[in-house]
Symmetry: C2
Subunit: 113 residues, 2 copies
């Protein structure tokens, strides 16, 4: 029904890398940059990077600090709360490579700022 | 079919604010920050901001520099190439408020980096 083109990226991942100036708790204090770097490198190494495939992006505050560190995968709108690099590897292998959502890492729906 | 929750934001807008260190052409050189600020302010003023509604976000390089400055609206995956603040106002009023894509501002599908 829409005349808009198909999704330029099959999956577009945004990592919250926000650092709160006030010193308040934020994704940047919980390894967000490292996780972003890991995800980007893994996606590239798997040959998944690029138009029609996967893009891993930096983002400002996604405003779900209470669930952080978080990342969101669009257009599916799947949110993840990850802890370590193993979690990132699983997201890449399961979701970004095979389209299978990693249920155990889903952000609880009620958690926002 | 998926067990993932519904989209936390009805519409999640990402503005490329990337500034290339080398001085190469980039969204930041074409008013991206001003456009982001405008969009965020307009969305807030319209009472559209928040969970279940609209989130306007900063993003790193979206890798479609040839079409910049760009912004993308998820989960629809609608990409815009805007020029000025009037364009931003139209995106807010038409798309973010009423769900009607602004056809004239759509990023040409073939334009990437």
């Amino acid at each position: 029904m829409s005349t808009s083109p198909p999704s330029y990226y099959q999956r577009h991942v945004f990592f919250c890398l926000n650092e709160r100036a006030s010193g308040e708790d934020c994704c940047a204090q919980h390894g967000a940059q490292k996780a972003f770097d890991r995800c980007k490198a893994k996606v590239k190494a798997a040959g998944l990077a690029g138009p029609g495939q996967v893009r891993v992006n930096k983002a400002g505050c996604l405003d779900r600090c209470a669930a952080g560190p978080v990342a969101v995968v669009y257009p599916e709108a799947v949110w993840y709360s990850y802890v370590d690099e193993d979690d990132i590897d699983e997201i890449v292998e399961s979701h970004l490579k095979h389209g299978k959502v990693v249920e155990r890492l889903l952000t609880p729906p009620h958690l926002g700022r």
